[in-house]
């Protein structure tokens, strides 16, 4: 499988969800969600029961929305035409365990309508891509969790889909395996694919996702890059860490800046700040550092991680309206 950036980059989203709701009897699993997914890695984050799996089922055509529309590459996600553009790596270990890894991918190629030499070529190419070419002749039942994830990823990629939907792909994978799979997701994203990853491992999302969808109780709480979402949470002061020479001297001067709410000194060289308006702070701090000749070694926001943003969003969502 060749992973190359496509010659033309389309600006229209691959996935469009408009006002999608889903009921299971009296239970409302999704409540009027609207979102778009384009090329790159999108993280889908939310607590258990938030509606992540329901959303993935709708996107992959396993379920139909009770209300609203879900389009994948311009087709209703429920229809077979849309599924030709989607690769799905479901949660859990279940596969056709009696088959070998190579046979499993080959069967999936066949299920997508590829035959003979083309099916073989795609199978070998995708096994190479997921790093399983040398272990693909063993039955899947003998595979470790990481190998299963890779082979499941292989079957999802064999028809070269535009949208790759991965439900907890890093669950149970060791750190080395996670790094390998993460690199693969990044390569796929660079090749112009839309990769949607549902995960509860929030710190992985920091490194991987360009865009994050936070869902809770069937609603989309926020969508965008972590920085953008964090900026919008202006009722939660941004926490910053500044490493510089002579922090005790700099601390009172920093308190004079309008955007700074509090400063804590942690010797030998760290300052921890709470900042009300990040953009204003960055402008003020630039001028301040130049004017006072501050030797800054490091300037870093400490609560823009997916986990921190998620906690803020959850706290905000739990407030009475």
């Amino acid at each position: 499988m060749t992973l190359e950036r496509p010659a033309t980059t389309e600006s229209s989203p691959l996935v469009e969800v408009r006002n999608a709701s889903k009921w299971f009897g009296p239970l409302m699993a999704l409540n009027g969600i609207s979102l778009e997914i384009g090329p790159g890695i999108t993280g889908l984050v939310g607590p258990n029961g938030a509606g992540k799996t329901t959303l993935l089922k709708l996107l992959t055509g396993q379920s139909q929305a009770s209300l609203g529309e879900i389009q994948v590459c311009g087709h209703d996600a429920w229809l077979a035409k849309a599924k030709a553009h989607v690769g799905f790596c479901p949660y859990g270990d279940a596969t056709w365990d009696e088959l070998s890894g190579r046979r499993l991918v080959r069967v999936t190629a066949g299920l997508h309508g590829f035959t003979g030499a083309e099916a073989r070529r795609r199978t070998e190419s995708v096994l190479e891509t997921v790093g399983m070419a040398d272990r693909a002749d063993r039955p899947v039942r003998t595979y470790s969790k990481g190998m299963r994830q890779r082979i499941k990823l292989g079957q999802a990629l064999v028809h070269d889909p535009d949208l790759l939907v991965l439900d907890e792909p890093l669950n149970g994978i060791d750190p080395v395996g996670r790094e390998g799979l993460g690199d693969l997701f990044l390569r796929l994203a660079k090749a112009g694919k839309a990769v949607l990853i549902s995960s509860h491992i929030l710190n992985e999302m920091d490194h991987l996702a360009d865009h994050i969808l936070f869902v809770c109780r069937g609603k989309l709480l926020a969508s965008g890059s972590l920085e953008t979402i964090r900026d919008v949470l202006d009722d939660y002061p941004l926490k910053m860490r500044i490493s510089c020479a002579a922090p005790r001297r700099v601390a009172p001067q920093l308190m004079a800046l309008e955007s700074v709410k509090s400063v804590t000194v942690q010797p030998p060289e760290d300052l921890f700040l709470e900042v009300q308006n990040p953009n204003r702070f960055y402008a003020e701090f630039g001028e301040f550092a130049t004017a006072h000749d501050v030797d800054v070694h490091r300037l870093k926001a400490t609560d823009t991680s997916a986990e921190a943003v998620f906690d803020y969003l959850m706290e905000r969502a739990s407030r009475p309206e």
Binding site: Q62, T108, T115
Partner: protein
């Protein structure tokens, strides 16, 4: 990869067919069926040995007791349900159905391909075991085989349609199919009255009891009131088509967890 890869819907359906055939054949059901057929075969061989000098009696026993009662009345629905009721529900309980439903094959065609695979396998087993039960009786056995073959073929087609519909409908389809086979097909089909007309075995037996049959089989219970062979063939044929169409419709609309 190229933007317009050569894909074939027929190839995709044939992959569903091969996968279903393989998974059903290499399953526990095949072992259970082999044991049941082995027992029936042992009874048949013993019968042929004991009644070696009484040719007419032996053939009569084969047709009326072994084939009509044991095979058509019990083994045929059991073999059909073993393969058909597990085809979709086993994929569902094994959480592998999602892989079939994620492909670009339209759901009705997935169902139809699975039906074709299960039907081929079930017909292979039922007709193969029918032949093996008839063979020990020599030339008379061949006559009996010729009479039973079309009946078993059409009844199998109908049973597979019914039990595959169960499989698409409920998660534990095998339990439902077993309850149906034992309560409805076996019990109801052997009591007087019109209720038995909802069973497949009634029409299969009616076909066998038809006057045109060279075996001269008769109902075992009074007031059985069989329909003609032609009616039985129409009912079994139309029911098969209707059950497959209903299954395709259900499978194309149902959301599986």
């Amino acid at each position: 990869m190229e933007n317009t890869p050569p894909v074939s819907r027929f190839a995709a359906c044939s992959q569903v067919f091969r996968l279903t055939l393989r998974r059903q054949f290499f399953s526990r059901q095949t072992i259970v069926i082999a044991v049941l057929i082995g027992l029936a075969l042992a009874v048949t061989v013993l019968l042929s040995v004991f009644l070696q000098g009484e040719r007419n009696r032996a053939v009569d026993h084969l047709a009326s007791r072994i084939l009509s009662r044991l095979f058509v009345g019990f083994l045929l629905p059991i073999i059909s349900l073993a393969y058909a009721s597990s085809a979709i529900s086993a994929e569902r309980t094994g959480q592998t159905l999602v892989y079939l439903l994620s492909t670009s094959v339209p759901r009705p065609l997935i169902y139809l391909s699975q039906y074709a695979a299960v039907l081929l396998l079930t017909l292979g087993v039922t007709l193969g075991s029918l032949a093996s039960l008839c063979l020990p009786f020599g030339a008379d056995g061949w006559v009996t085989l010729r009479v039973f073959t079309p009946v078993v073929t059409l009844a199998t087609t109908c049973y597979v349609g019914l039990f595959l519909l169960f499989s698409a409908w409920v998660r534990r389809a095998t339990f439902l199919a077993l309850a149906y086979a034992l309560m409805i097909e076996t019990l109801t089909a052997n009591i007087p009255g019109v209720v038995k007309r909802i069973t497949v075995s009634f029409y299969a037996n009616s076909w066998l009891y038809d006057d045109s049959s060279p075996l001269n089989l008769n109902p075992r219970i009074p007031a059985y009131d069989p329909v003609s062979a032609a009616t039985a063939q129409w009912v079994l044929g139309l029911a098969s088509i209707g059950l497959v169409a209903l299954g395709m419709w259900l499978f194309s609309r149902k959301e599986y967890d």
